[in-house]
Symmetry: C2
């Protein structure tokens, strides 16, 4: 049988390929289809498997560049075992960064490693010395001019024929010159990259401002900030901002502020027949007075809104707007662009449905309509409009019912121009759809937190969020409650339940939020088994006042202050759970370089006290076995001296359901 | 602030993108960089996350095509929960297959699902009926001609105005027509694929012949097949083949058969000073009599080899050759192509080293030499040469010390022309390097099996091989021993240890092997603490005879027969471990459709009997709780009636250390 000739084109490709392989890079979301996420000023870690044939040593760098940089920077990776390499860099600017990996054979390091073995075995190394001289000479071009003399001197010393009498092994001056530490350091820093492997995909990294990770949100309806019985306005809401700021919140988040439709307007408690004077749901957007770029007339004017934003800025509070892409039948788009909606066979516009439920006050938009181009541009324009009025944070309503490509395009375009923007995805749906929205560009996401109340549920869910690939792209925002979600735990657990859920939301997740009323323990559902509020604020005004009412305001203020004072609480993936011997006792800690660790122990049972033993993972808090340390409760200001891994705790929810300890080494 | 105009080019790309997303396809090795592996005639399963916005239903297919096909075939995927979809096809030819996924919105299925809800809620559905008629009409073009009449009749019935008096809900003939099962089936099978998502990467699949997965190997040195004291030849080896075949082995595997060098030839027990008449190591390849394409003259001629191969074929045995790309200093390449080797500064050729160890009888090849093109072509030619003499299986020696791109190129080219070839990687090195070789094209791999003797080690290792991504590309070949590896377990455990390791190798892995001498319980190491054999066959002749010696031949024959008779044992990823209450008792089962499950219980302690309770995973064997079933030991032919998950076993290694049960439902 004749041997087949090798195809020279195919062969050529392989002949020029590096013998070094870089694989399983992390983070690399869906083969690099999506960017990972990081925060300005945080270390960003990249890891990979890096191998080649045979026993030669390797070197590797992470290559990276910032949004405005045309040239690559590099940081060396280190081998951490099992052929895994890790390197990190600190993005110092928001926007889109890029990174990849380069790896090559460390010929000099390999030579040096082997040289030690040869000398220890007392072998003749004359030829190996000459090999090192040749290697050093080959590096004279790649080494910076200032350092060349070091190599040149080493080469001379290595080649000096007159070996001292009696000198051998490490005392031989030729060997000492070749193994010199300075030489090794210069060679390691400037090794030639012969036949180096460049990881093919250049990966992207979205670097966000710190507020995308660390922020305390407070949701309120501007129309509820008026005097009792009166419709609030942006003027009353502006005054209300100091109340929000005083509790320590960073973000004031408003339901939609646009004109409300009257066709099929809902009445109190979501009734289909609205009572006379019904004020309507802010999510039924659009009337003859305008649509998504307009202010509901009863709330005031755009100037009032601008003043509201200005006051927020003075108080250090960011405004988050709720963007709900749906229309009341009265929305101007319905008449101007009927083609942007779905139609029924009789030509009528389709209202929203979740069969058999019908929502006749809402028309969904058709993101795949013939004129989707016009629609998408108009929708993006809604964001642009509010950005031009100082809004930097958008909470997007039900993004999972709008087509994915729209979000990727719109958020991509908006963040390209305004990398400081934060988009929060309000998608309560199936896990992979929520993940997809985060991958497409949302910087924060609503979560299942509200429905995770038992210890095992919380530990399992938080482990998924902090330890799986999700940690690279999905940033949670833990809400204790929303205008739609009053969990049974709050309905039944009384004030201790509110404290417990606040501690969990605020200290487990660096981004968290409460919806107003929470501080007054509002807990009555519209009916048994429902998570909707009775007299839901979506359909009527609420008047809330601190006067003489039992409230959680001081506790919230304290917790928000603790968050601000303790850098570990601004981070998420630093979360570590500790053991306890009681199902209702949950313990977790967070650490940050240069700060005292924070250790939280919570009694999850709002009905009665619990005592038990916490089994601490001391290593996770930088403590060693048998070491004594001081824990100071930042709520009660009590302080205890603890030793070793096991500590007794007793928590009475009617006093305080949680210890929030700062841990100080003795 | 002016709103920025959207870049129309960028927008256009997103506007035309599908609203359906296909992600996390499995298998997809390193983002599709490497093919997965499958066996001709086996089902090949593909899975993916498939989602879109909103609550619409989806449909998806795996698209695939064989090596000689220009058109795609399709198989529908099914949703198995949590947005995961699975589909499979059965490759019926060896070679490179391709596969990808297409998914789209199932508008009719969605309409139908919602229709049921509407009717149950007793809603007016006149418009929905017309919607269905329009949908059916839109499908008249995509549905095969023969089936169109079914849809047309349905459309007519749906549009019939005269609703029967009293007919409502499902009894309304219009509704019945729209929800008709035949209509639903036709629509499901031929749904239009509007805005469908085609998964971008077209993934590759290497389909191998069954022998790549299922084969029993026997390794022997042809030179040891002569009469006592005589150098064996291919003529004596040809006679020896019936002994190999009679034990039930499918593959006869030979160490290198090429001329052996004399420079620095090693003597008995690897001594540096060879005794007079030392026969040398077959791995010191090359002499004035030839190199890798030649036969060692003492073994005979190429005609003798051809006759050997022909006899093997008559016996149903495949020949596997050992390809070791290294040279004795006497190899013709050394003189003809000194540029193919590494050189020392004095111009001499570098011998093999693992500092401080030196192997002066071996010259490694330089795969990155200036003339690597010539070298690579010559090396590939070695395979071509032996292929032309009927060899289809190559066991490659130390592939991890040769550059990765060479293997990908050479195996790729060879398999393109001869897809029936099987390459076994003899790499005992770090896990990721072994994995890389498998990914690059090796169809089978040596493993760590020899060093996994405790139950937890075996269970952990086999779980990695059968449950992680490795199962898609890494096919193990479990060797009980090799000319280099005599594990301490065999050194100390006596004949029971040999039985135990045979049962484990042969029944855990569908591909397994033994090196001759194993059947005679050869167990003496060259020294305490070594895994090398005393009087290793690498350096001297062995004469082995069945005459009057205690041996394992009948046991091996029985085990190989059991493997052939029971299809579950030809598979690997069907492996399931069962619980036992003793650390030395290990239990595992394998199942295959249409065959009785095989349940193996092994006493891993070769020194004494063990009794205990096995806790069976009944579901894994297709049994239900409380069901009675019969287990028949295929070694002892004993039979027991068992009921439920717990069964008592007692295994005396001096009788039989294992039960190999066939499990039959009562």
């Amino acid at each position: 049988m004749a041997e087949k000739e090798a195809d020279p084109k195919i062969l050529k490709g392989y002949l020029s390929r590096s013998n070094v392989v870089v694989e399983r890079v992390e983070p690399e979301i869906d083969s690099g289809r999506f960017p990972a996420k990081a925060i300005e000023g945080d270390d960003f870690e990249v890891s990979a498997d890096i191998i080649r044939d045979g026993p030669a040593l390797l070197q590797a760098v992470v290559r990276y560049r910032g949004p405005d940089s045309r040239s690559w920077s590099e940081t060396f990776m280190v081998h951490v075992g099992n052929d895994r390499w890790v390197g990190s860099f600190r993005p110092d600017d928001i926007g889109t960064w890029r990174y990849t990996i380069e790896a090559w054979t460390d010929h000099f390091g390999t030579w040096r490693r082997d040289m030690f073995k040869r000398i220890e075995a007392d072998q003749n190394v004359d030829l190996e010395l000459e090999e090192s001289a040749l290697l050093l000479e080959a590096h004279l071009k790649t080494v910076p001019v200032k350092k060349r003399a070091v190599l040149q001197r080493a080469v001379e010393a290595i080649r000096k024929k007159s070996r001292k009498k009696g000198a051998s092994g490490f005392s031989d001056p030729r060997i000492a010159a070749a193994l010199d530490e300075d030489v090794a350091e210069i060679m390691a820093a400037h090794h030639v990259r012969t036949n180096s492997a460049m990881y093919k995909p250049v990966l992207e990294l979205t670097v966000d401002p710190e507020r995308a990770r660390f922020s305390a949100w407070y949701e309120f309806f501007p129309r509820s900030t008026g005097n009792e019985g009166e419709h609030g306005t942006f003027q009353t809401a502006t005054k209300h901002l100091s109340y929000v700021a005083d509790m320590g919140f960073d973000v004031a988040y408003l339901p939609p502020i646009h004109p409300i439709g009257s066709t099929h307007r809902k009445g109190k408690n979501n009734s289909l027949d609205a009572e006379p004077g019904a004020i309507g749901s802010p999510w039924a957007i659009g009337s003859r007075e305008g649509g998504h770029k307009d202010i509901h007339p009863e709330l005031g004017t755009i100037d009032d809104f601008d003043e509201f934003v200005a006051e927020a800025e003075r108080l250090g509070v960011d405004i988050a707007l709720d963007i709900a892409f749906q229309c009341s039948p009265d929305h101007p788009w319905v008449a101007e662009h009927p083609e942007w909606f779905h139609h029924r066979p009789d030509g009528s516009i389709k209202y929203a449905e979740n069969p058999p439920k019908k929502y006749q006050d809402i028309y969904p938009l058709n993101f795949e309509s013939e004129d989707r181009e016009g629609l998408w541009i108009e929708l993006k324009g809604v964001f642009d409009h509010w950005i031009s009025h100082g809004v930097k944070i958008f909470r997007v309503d039900n993004p999972h019912t709008k087509t994915f490509p729209f979000w990727e395009w719109a958020i991509g375009e908006l963040k390209a121009e305004h990398p400081e923007l934060v988009f929060l995805s309000e998608a309560f749906t199936r896990p992979k759809v929520m993940q997809e929205l985060a991958k497409l560009g949302y910087n924060q996401s609503y979560t299942y937190f509200t429905w995770r109340n038992a210890r095992w549920e919380l530990e399992e869910y938080l482990t998924e969020l902090t330890r799986t690939e999700m940690r690279h792209y999905f940033r949670p925002n833990f809400f204790t409650n929303t205008p739609d979600i009053l969990h049974e735990y709050l309905q039944r657990g009384g004030p201790p339940a509110f404290k417990i859920r606040l501690v969990l939301a605020a200290l487990l997740s660096p981004a968290y939020g409460v919806y107003s009323g929470f501080e007054f323990f509002e807990n009555v559902p519209v009916k048994e088994g429902s998570e909707e509020y009775l007299h839901a604020e979506k359909y009527e005004l609420k008047h809330r006042s601190l006067d003489g009412r039992s409230n959680l305001v001081p506790f919230i203020r304290r917790i928000n202050q603790i968050r601000r004072d303790n850098p570990p609480l601004a981070l998420f993936t630093n979360l570590v759970f500790h053991g306890t011997d009681k199902e209702n006792l949950m313990a977790f800690s967070k650490t940050a370089e240069g700060s005292a660790p924070i250790l939280v122990v919570v009694n999850l049972n709002p009905f009665q006290w619990e005592e038990g033993t916490v089994s601490l993972n001391l290593t996770a808090m930088g403590l060693s076995d048998g070491e004594s340390f001081r824990v100071t409760d930042l709520i009660s200001e009590d302080s205890f001296e603890w030793t070793g891994a096991n500590a007794y705790v007793r928590l009475d929810p009617f006093q305080e359901p949680a210890h929030v300890f700062r841990v100080d080494r003795a």
